[in-house]
Amino acid sequence: MTHATVALPAADRHAPGRLAAEWRAGSMVWRREMIHFLRSRAGIAVSLLQPLLFLYVLGIGLSRMFSGAGSSDDYMIFLFPGVLVMAAQAPAISVGASIVWDRQSGFLREMLVAPVRRSTLLIGKCLGGATVAACQGAVVLASAGLVGVPYRVDLFAALLAELLLASLAMTVLGAVIAVRIQRIQTFHTALTVLTAPMVFLSGLMFPVSAMPAWMAALTLVNPLTYAVDAMRQTITAFHPAPAAGASGAPIFDPVSWGGWDVPPGLSVVLVAVFSALALAAASRRFSRTD
């Protein structure tokens, strides 16, 4: 037995295909996020509370004020994609916190000394976070019927894909900040400063078309705006009633650049490009050694 142990291949011999090894390490990081997610059911329940409260309390309340302008259901449908994004936001951002936490607790070091590229680790981490976030969003998505969004497979598939992309964008944003930060407290401070404005300036609660110019300008540089808008346009494409409503429901006007409506496809591309660039920046920083 002892002899067999010593004679087994040493580290050098079984050096596997480079890509296969990176893939395996990356998927391990992804799986670790999923395990953490599945083992923290209480955390899931709590973080779902806020978006549901938002949708079914704040949403219903506000929709009464709009009752003069279109049916109250319209506002609920308008709000719905934003609430999906909100549901995904907390878990997405928490990936950043977990990077900082891994650094503080030491597990990060275990990964950093492994024979894999650091960008692989970061990508695995972000995809894991995005998956977890999209799962959370999907729970809210399942309640779509309550606000009048039809249950259609193609619509849900499209929404899920967009939700996943939005989750990735938010995850990567958290990662960009996290890789520069050593202490968990600093990270939370940075996030508080960042997330609230990002939510308010995303056209999530009120349409860009109704914003004053300065506010609209800020909203148009926010990647979340395009994530929300793409989902909203996807819903209205399948559920044209609100746009065609008696009021003309201007709240459903798509985001426009100087009068040119941004098509949902372009919005999706914009969010994807943002995610890719941010991921590249975060990887670069993460790969730096002293």
Binding site: P9, H14, A15, L108, D290
Partner: protein, 369 residues
Amino acid sequence: MFGAGPRTARGPAAGTDGDAAHRSGRPAPAAGAAGGPTAGSGPPAVLARGLGKSYAGVEAVRGIDLTVAQGETFGFLGPNGAGKTTTISMLTTLATPTTGRIEIAGHDTRTAPQQVRRNLGLVFQETTLDPELTAVENLRFHADLYALPRAGLAGRIAEMLELVGLSARGDSLVRTFSGGMQRRLEIARGLLHRPRLLFLDEPTIGLDPQTRAQVWAHLAEVREREATTIFLTTHYLDEAEQCDRIAIIDDGRIVAQGSPAELKSVIGADRVDLRTGDDMAAAALLHERFGLAAVRGPNGLSVKVAEGARLVPALCAALDVAVYEVTVTRPSLDDVFLHHTGRGIRDDALPGAAGTAGTAEPSDSGDST
């Protein structure tokens, strides 16, 4: 305390030979074979030349040379802030040297960091386990990170858990483990991918004496069964004594290097303490018969002599006065440390560790006859 039988007999030279035999089955490093090291001898586990590191103008490490042969157990000692951690960071590819170069098992840390990492196992001072995962999951994740073959992996994991005595706790969350169990699991994980070189940074810091002994018992077994080169830092002298060779770093430089016995012989003399019926007369006799200058203290006489234990019989025979007590104190590593760094090895021990450590080390100052 760590007297694993076969180990005690093994000096540095014997160790190297023994390991050459052990290792003949090992493949030569794939990429570094250019220099043509034959299987068995192989390149040194660690080869550092002119290693230096500056942070913002402060020189943490000032040009050090280190060679650790394969199969050796190498102790790296130094006061806190002497450059130990920085050196280890560089050796493990976590930091890039400002000057000099490092080869680990024949691979350059700068040009082939991935091969270097594949050959390293690391156990850090602070835990790097994921507490929310089970022991087996932690090991499985490690296997994924190092892309270990899946065939036989379950067996290898079981073997490693058994090696560190954690077989029964494989499916428990690491969060429920005691400090000693976590450390042992980290050692198991560090060895899982069969590294040529295992780095242990203060592997037993903060552990109580029993747990410390347990960790070392497992390490002794690791040395036997896995034939791994071990590079460790420690503040415990009895642990340093276990090493084949030691280097002491102070202020960014290596101030002493050699086997514990060699280092102690540099310090030279043993100290012989005597309690006699008539110290004055005894001192005079010592001077007259042995040419030794005795120092009189409150507890009797004290002389310095090269081979203290050999002096004792002659001494007792020669002295006419009544001898109540003779104590021979050999130079300890603490004396060595003090000699080279101007500080005792534990002067700056971490406050957290001091409580257990202070009381646990009554026997550091050598053997008594």
